[in-house]
Amino acid sequence: MCGIVGLFLKERDLQPQLGNMLGQMLQVMTDRGPDSAGFAVYGEGAADHFKLTVRGSNLASLSRDISEALGVSVGLTLRDTHAVLSFPDEVTGKVREWLSTHRPDLAVIGAGHRIELYKEVGLPADVIKRFNLPGMAGTHGVGHTRMATESAVTTAGAHPFSTGADQCLVHNGSLSNHRSVRRNLEREGLTFATDNDTEVAAGFVTWRMRNGDSLERALEASLDTLDGFYTFVVGTENGFAVLRDPISCKPAVMAETDRYVAFGTEYRALAVLPGIEKARIFEPEPAKVYAWEHR
């Protein structure tokens, strides 16, 4: 099972509503994934400021601790078990180093100029509330409700997975060759935080893009390499992309209006959106990459 939602806004005036719309869509997908939920929101960013989403406890003092140690101003937004740190681009390496040395208890789960990533175990409604998703603004976002099949029900095993700057991936399905793909990627220098099959898919896309592929090309390459069932939704700094396996094992439906593009594992998740009655509703074809980006 598992449920996926994605929302890409075409009009600026909807941006304050992004979290609210995405949250409603995500909650409808509870039946498909009641054990954990997560989402990535692409909000206002600054080209010269980097953001890290960290997960753990005792987060409130992070901003002060890092600022004092590195002598730079570090912003902090605290949301339940997660915090988003924001700091000038040039100190990114130092902040990461400080975190791994002084706060090895924390997990860095998202990194980039715009991405913020939150995930927890529990009913989607509770996860949405704990992080106050309805209060978040942004240009696009993806969300996932999980019914675990390949690895344990843990916060680390919840989606989305982010393995590259401003990239994230959510997955409905299961991969059968993730162990061998993981070994190949580890030889290429990638590291993985969990035993999860989806993290391998995210890592594969990141690796291909690192070697010069466009997002579309990286996803096309996954058709040849990844074996199993999947519908992927991939978030990037400027938009999102959708890919279904060649036999379209897992359901997917999309809606497009003048104001937004939306993805849902089931139409029910799209039915909550404004103007859905007049949207162009269609089912993405198997083995075909669909992408929307702000240029």
Binding site: S248, P251, Y267, R268, L270, I281, E283, E285
Partner: protein, 225 residues
């Protein structure tokens, strides 16, 4: 003329009310509003009634239908009219995967397109799709007729037993043991009847017929692993 608003009532309540109808009921015209993509709407009806569903439906809508005429004004999710026994189901929009799966009788009319595995394991149902159908359609089809005015995706009729597949447009590829067959007078009459019932005014001669090559009926050592 009962009207059921699914923004207020639950699908279970609707289906329970439909299941309790005696076959000679006077409540023969039902309207269902605000389906909002919910699953299993109007499944298991066993009465000659008419049901109008206004909007998009989720999975398994009109499944196991017997004798009812069900019309859906929007799109449908996976498994539309699956295992239908008799009656007519008409969809104004597009159908998702496995429309008409395992259907044993009746007529399913899809005004738009149907995606993958349309008519999978069909066992006597007649399906008319005015648009195109997706890959692996009529997989393991046993009996019945699938009529497609548009194109058919990859592997049409894979592992087909018996069923007639009429396609007017392009066929991307045929599945294992599916082959083109001559369109004889008997098949042309069956096709013309279905086109007439579906309200389609195109000549039967504009279709090609596909069916079973019957090479998988018996064990053949070359097919063994």
């Amino acid at each position: 003329m009962p009207v059921v608003d699914l923004a207020v009532s639950r699908v279970r309540e609707l289906n329970k009310a439909l299941h309790q109808l005696p076959r000679n009921t006077n409540e023969t015209h039902w309207t269902v509003q605000n389906p909002a993509g919910q699953h299993s709407i109007a499944v298991g009806i066993d009465a000659p009634i008419e049901v109008m569903i206004e909007g998009h439906v989720g999975y398994y809508c009109a499944g196991m239908n017997k004798d009812a005429q069900i019309t859906i004004s929007g799109n449908a999710g996976v498994g539309l009219a699956e295992n239908m026994m008799s009656g007519v189901v008409r969809l104004a929009g597009d159908a998702s995967q496995a429309a008409g799966a395992t259907g044993r009788g009746g007529l399913l009319i899809i005004e738009g397109n149907a995606s993958a595995r349309c008519g999978i394991s069909m066992k006597g149902i007649d399906i008319v799709v005015k648009g195109s159908i997706g890959p692996m359609s009529a997989f393991m089809a046993q009996t019945g007729n699938l009529v497609v005015l548009g194109d058919a995706g990859e592997a049409l009729g894979d592992s087909i037993y018996e069923a007639r597949l009429f396609v007017r447009g392009e066929v991307k590829s045929l599945g294992a043991d599916c082959e083109e067959k001559p369109l004889g007078s008997e098949e042309r009459a069956i096709l013309a009847g279905l086109l007439d019932r579906a309200g389609v005014d195109v000549p039967a001669d504009s279709f090609r017929l596909f069916g079973s090559a019957r090479r998988l009926y018996h064990f053949h050592v070359d097919n063994a692993y």
